[in-house]
Amino acid sequence: MTTFFNLTLAGLSSGAVFAALGLSLVIIYRATRVVNFAQPALALISSYVAYSVTKGTGSYWLGFAAAIVVGTVLGIAVERLLVRPLRNAPELSPIIATMGLLLVLQAVAGMIWSNEPHAFSYAFDFRGRFSAADLFAVLAVLVTATGVLLLFKFTSLGLRMRAAAFNPEVARLLGVRVGVMLTLGWGLAAAVGSLAGLLAVPPFISPTVLDEVFVFALTAAVLGGLDNPLGTIVGGLALGIGLSYVAGLLGPELVPLAALAILVSVLAVRPAGLFGRATARRV
């Protein structure tokens, strides 16, 4: 029983991280219909910045702020320089371009900070089954997700962002500054992604630390329905807890297989994820 309880708590905190990174994927997907493979690399760079700033100043929160700022700027730059020129290209082009960017940024991180791991601190005390750091992660993710949900669902800015993503041409005809919306979307997503990075990276940072988290984050986003921030949160937490059970009760080597099994069985019943709905009628 306590094992079960402990596994649930452990799953909750890792699930929060999946959810956060998944959320940033969802925001970009909503904003530009692109699955951003460079997202873990953006989060990585901003986490490294946090590492350096914290090391230099001794303040975790200065590093935290620097990471969010740098992440946002990076996200905006990527949209402007890489994604925008590809807006008329075939649908796979942005995927490949962001993959290329992932490689470049990981390599750059290795060049600057070396491929060897460094210690990276938690925001709060990490001791305890459900520590202050865990609580912070879960709360930060919930608050961010609620904010994003409100933004998309109830504000006109959110509506404009969605319209720009679904059909840029029509959005333009309706007076929406599509370029600004897309940039905003990427900036926001990168900020959330940086937050996710800061939560996911501890205790050690190295260029590939976010790879695994990214796969699970994408799984969580797909699980919840890529169009739905709420779904991603639920998907992330469910995945985190599910995988924690598998790792604890069956063996850690089964985790990737279990993620596959969970995803396939959910998609078999709901092809657009738990919370996704097939909006358009087909005929």
Binding site: I95, A97, L101, V104, N115, V215
Partner: protein, 341 residues
Amino acid sequence: MLNKLPPVVVHLLAALGCLVLLVLLTFAADPFTNLRIATVGYYLIAVAGLALLTGFNGQVSLGHGAFMFIGAYTVALLVKRVPAFPIWADLLLATVAGGVAGLLAGAAAARLRGPYLAGATLALAVGLPAVTQRFPELLAGSNGLSFTVNSQPAGLVGTIPSTQWQAWIVWLAVLLALVVLANLARGKLGRTLRAVRDDEVAASLAGVHVGRTKILAFLVSSACGGLAGGLQAFLLGTAAPGSFTVALSLSLLAALVLGGLGSLWGALWGAIALVYFQVWTDDIAEVLSLRSDISDNLPLALYGVVLIVVVLAFPAGIQGGLRKLWVRVRRPVPSQRGEAS
């Protein structure tokens, strides 16, 4: 005149021509270049299979490495456990195993679209190699299997280097598979695949069983993946989970896009690019002799830059660029094919 022959004959003749050229090429090349020629071969068939699935049928797979995984382990197990089987039988079974896996994956994926399919296939690429951990006795866990395939006829041992022989075998298998793919691409099935990609509703009204077509695309494409994995195992004598990472699956897709979607030629350019970009970036990094943190990471960075630049500069891939060039050269002579048929 050539038009009157059944496509299979045309394609077989073309394949034969290619094989002859290749054999000549292998004599001109040193043993290591022959290894690279063979490597291009198995990547080609993997990318060509993906071209069918993603380019023709519009199903994006981020997990094609999983089918190579299956093919490689099939060959590895057969070589180790049933050494009596000739290598062509092993390769055939690897193809079949890949196809069967594709059938299952396709059936599960038939209702998925766009990023949902991408996510599910990515999970496949991550999840499937983990089975080696579950059956360590059979599949040797994370160490994987290593073995040697002695397929070279006794008469040839010593006369030609083994890599040259291997290049022949690989390309023979690849060209045979390409003949099938070319038949398919040119014929009714290719048309059906593209129709389903463009509009599922209209396709079903035209009598196309959409689900079955998508599964078929998966099947053929992953059979190619299985063959590619089998050839890799044959060539390198290894089957280990560490070879079939997400990075492999993604680089297959990258090769496809770089080469150009929607044509088998694109797969060839993509496969060549996949092999040689890495060689070039490694060489450049080596020449520069920098601090280890920088030189270790430089090939990766350069490879990423190449991906970005090519996608930005040639949105339709290398084949698209070549075609544009071709059209420009041919402009003065208008095509007559429309009227002829």
